[in-house]
């Protein structure tokens, strides 16, 4: 569900709102999260729980532009690409400081980027893979590239390329980078608009305003507007909403879609459906055998196709997303560039599903288990609906409820048969999701075990392709192959449902999922 390269920012309109005339400074925003962050290191973390709030703590050289189509200055005031495209030079903003008041130097930048691109370091080092070497001198940082890479500016606007204080990091206790990172992340000092001030694991996290943040607000003074944000960890959806309704918290993420309409009708609340690149699907383990050694019916493509046919997406959208979603017709969201609009997906066709199952030797169906996120009404709704739908073709679905973290852990170990999943892009390009969903060597095609030589060949070509038209044709092929192989159950696309008090302004969850509190304020 994570990894992402960000950059879409189809949120210009929302951002524009935040530039409203009068802003109010001060106050603490209490925001209800469904789970706590685990590891506040930009490079070594591995979950959205971390990623979606990291940019509040660590700033990057570039930032996604407000229209989402490009980048804008961050810690660097500008960048220039050499004519041969093999070098990129960044000029640092003068006078920038870390949250402890110490200056951010070019050496910090070099060190941070070197750490982030080290091949063993974290899941995102690949985004900076084109960098050959980095030189820092005075206020400039020069990146020497192995090959031209048009996605690099976007990559530099991504969380893993965040700038960290080298000295403080290295002063942290620990024998190696991993241990130091762990110690440092307990009480991180970064370059973002906020700084961690208190963290009670699993219960609450408080971020305080970083007084040294460089960016100015609408009133001409330094951002952020808020004095502090307190994240309260409230795993139970119902409790989170009740607390929002009673005014104890000012915002709540992951509102169950079932309750969107109810909250929309609440005059005290602002029920937001932030546009997203989120696709919801069910990952299937495509391997012939499961971890426990038993045979896996899902290894048969006909079975996987059958399940797709047996899935009534329109019904699911009504039941599970309460009409807020739309059917998935490719593995990528329809908002992703190079999405193939001619894809048909799998229409609901029980007869075909039965026929395919019979052909695969499962005329009487089989039992299959699916990991779900505990307490998530959406997961439960989805899976109980699927139980019903698949039951019609004899497939008996078992639901295994797990918390987000261990669900992730299970699937990383390929120890699952099915799992509910969702994906959000981190970068405004189809290559990221493709790398994850379709390319085996990266993460075993999101641990489905799917592998297709032809697809991988076309993808490799597309990564070199500069012509947008040709690349689109390649992606059409890729999407078709993937669709036929059906390594996943294609479900639907959904927005980010966030409910806020009416007086909370300027908050945005960008399509890539990041929570941006930089310009958030509490209206009087």
């Amino acid at each position: 569900m994570n990894r992402f390269v960000r950059m879409t920012l189809a949120v210009g309109a929302t951002l524009a709102l935040t530039q409203a005339l009068a802003v109010t400074r001060g106050g603490t925003l209490v925001y209800g999260r469904y789970a706590d962050s685990l590891f506040l290191d930009p490079v070594l973390n591995d979950a959205n729980l971390d990623i979606w709030i990291l940019t509040n703590l660590y700033d990057t050289l570039l930032q996604p532009s407000s229209n989402g189509k490009g980048v804008q200055p961050g810690l660097a005031t500008n960048y220039t690409v050499s004519s041969d495209g093999r070098s990129l030079k960044l000029t640092l903003r003068p006078g920038i400081k870390f949250a402890d008041g110490s200056a951010i130097t070019a050496q910090d930048v070099k060190w941070s980027l070197d750490r982030a691109r080290k091949p063993d370091n974290g899941d995102w080092s690949g985004s900076l893979a084109s960098i050959d070497s980095i030189t820092a001198s005075g206020g400039t940082v020069t990146l020497a590239l192995k090959r031209p890479d048009p996605t690099l500016p976007a990559a530099l606007a991504t969380f893993n390329a965040a700038i960290m204080p080298q000295k403080l990091f290295e002063a942290a206790p620990g024998k190696n980078d991993a241990e130091k990172a762990k110690a440092f992340a307990e009480k991180p000092i970064g370059s973002g608009p906020f700084v961690l001030s208190d963290w009670k694991r699993g219960s609450s996290m408080t971020l305080k305003r970083n007084p040294y943040y460089w960016k100015k607000g609408a009133d001409g003074k330094a951002l952020p507007y808020l004095d502090a944000i307190r994240f309260e960890i409230i795993p139970d959806d119902n409790t989170r909403i009740l607390k929002l309704q009673s005014g104890e918290i000012q915002g709540a993420e992951f509102i169950p879609l079932a309750r969107v309409n109810e909250l929309k009708a609440n005059p005290k609340l602002n029920m937001q459906l932030f546009p997203s690149t989120k696709v919801n699907n069910i990952l299937m383990n495509n391997r012939p055998k499961l971890n426990n050694g038993s045979a896996n019916p899902l290894s048969d493509v006909r079975v996987r196709q059958a399940l797709n046919y047996a899935t009534n997406k329109d019904a699911l959208i009504q039941i599970v997303t309460y009409g807020t979603g739309k059917p998935m017709k490719s593995y990528m969201s329809s908002t992703t560039p190079l999405y193939d609009t001619t894809q048909k997906g799998y229409p609901y066709d029980l007869a075909k599903a039965k026929q395919l199952l019979a052909a695969a030797g499962f005329a009487n169906g089989f039992e299959v288990s699916c990991l779900a996120t505990s307490g998530s009404a959406d997961d439960l709704a989805l899976l109980t609906a699927l139980q019903q739908m698949w039951g019609a073709v004899g497939v008996r679905l078992k639901i295994e409820q797990l918390d987000a973290a261990s669900k992730t852990a299970r699937y990383r170990a390929n120890d699952f048969q099915m799992r509910t999943a969702a994906w959000t892009n981190d970068i405004n390009d189809p290559s990221q999701i493709t790398t994850y969903y379709a390319i085996y060597d990266n993460v075993e095609s999101v641990h489905t075990g799917f592998k297709n030589a032809e697809l991988e060949k076309i993808f490799a070509q597309s990564q070199q392709e500069t012509s947008r038209v040709k690349r689109a044709a390649q992606y059409r092929q890729i999407q078709s192959i993937y669709m036929n192989a059906a390594p996943i159950v294609f479900l639907y696309e959904t927005p980010y449902p966030v409910a806020l008090q009416k007086n909370v302004k300027g908050f945005v969850q960008i399509p890539l999922g990041n929570n941006i509190f930089t310009e958030t304020y509490l209206d009087k």
Partner: protein, 284 residues
């Protein structure tokens, strides 16, 4: 036998019929629908407990759906009825093994005494040091969620109460003169224990069994609510309350009726327990 013969009128009339206590009667009456629902849910439930009806989502109670429908259009009444079987099964399975095992062990150690009693006593002391729910949850955590593992966990912990009860009673009854008389009459220890002491000593355990059944249902429902007990879409009342909690404000009936059923089942067992306590007490 001239001087000693008492008049036969001195033998009071046997009061052959015992009046059934109102609590017991009420409890038994309340039990009837639960038993029926548990035995023949299909006959009683108007709809399937699991089938969706997208045309009837979140409907308030009506003639068609007396308990309303949930967010999948499932008939809440039918789910409550089908849930009866699950929850009654929980009531029985969470108590049966502890009752049998704990009572037998209590009878044995209470009767034999000495080291066996001391050893089991220590083990029991130890088990009660762990909060019941916490230990059950911990065991379920290790073994994995689900009803079977819940039964295992409850059995590992639940026997202590019965052991204590029965052991205490057996020790007390062992001292009674009728138990001593049985020994002097040359009866074997087995006969003294099984025929004389146990029938008298088991009563509190039987009464407690009823209370325990209501506690068992509550425990099963609690674990179901927490996601550690019965797994969806099993129509278990605790799971149903959990399913409906998102709709407490807009559709109270989804969690309201299963909650009511839970409470009513608890009250029913308590009433029967109280009634049995009266009914089983020997006259003196």
């Amino acid at each position: 036998m001239t001087t000693t013969a008492p008049t036969t009128t001195g033998v009071p009339r046997a009061r052959s019929r015992r009046r059934v206590k109102p609590t017991l009667a009420l409890g038994l009456v309340l039990l009837v629908p639960f038993v029926l629902a548990a035995l023949a849910p299909r006959l009683l439930a108007p709809y399937s407990p699991t089938d969706f009806d997208y045309s009837a989502i979140l409907q308030a109670p009506s003639a068609k759906h007396p308990f309303g429908t949930d967010n999948f259009g499932r008939d809440v009444l039918s789910r409550v009825i089908h849930g009866t079987r699950v929850d009654m099964q929980i009531a029985v399975f969470t108590t049966l093994f502890p009752f049998v095992f704990g009572s037998l062990l209590g009878a044995l150690t209470g009767f034999v005494g000495r080291w066996a009693d001391a050893v089991v006593g220590r083990v029991a002391d130890l088990v009660v040091v762990f909060p019941f729910l916490v230990l059950v949850i911990a065991i379920v955590a290790v073994l994995g969620p689900g009803l079977t593992n819940m039964y295992i966990a409850v059995s590992a912990v639940g026997w202590v109460a019965y052991w204590r009860l029965v052991r205490g009673e057996v020790v007390a009854h062992k001292q009674t003169e009728y138990a001593q008389a049985a020994r002097v009459l040359g009866f074997s220890p087995t006969r003294v224990l099984l025929r004389h002491i146990l029938p008298n000593a088991i009563t509190p355990a039987i009464v407690y069994l009823m209370t325990d059944m209501s506690l068992g249902i509550l425990l099963g429902a609690s674990l179901g609510y927490l996601g550690l007990g019965a797994q969806p879409p099993t129509p278990e009342w605790g799971v149903m309350v959990a399913d409906g909690k998102n709709f407490m404000v807009t559709a109270w009936w989804i969690s309201g009726f299963p909650g009511l059923a839970l409470t009513l089942a608890g009250v029913t067992f308590s009433l029967i327990g109280d009634g049995l306590a009266d009914a089983l007490r020997p006259r003196s």
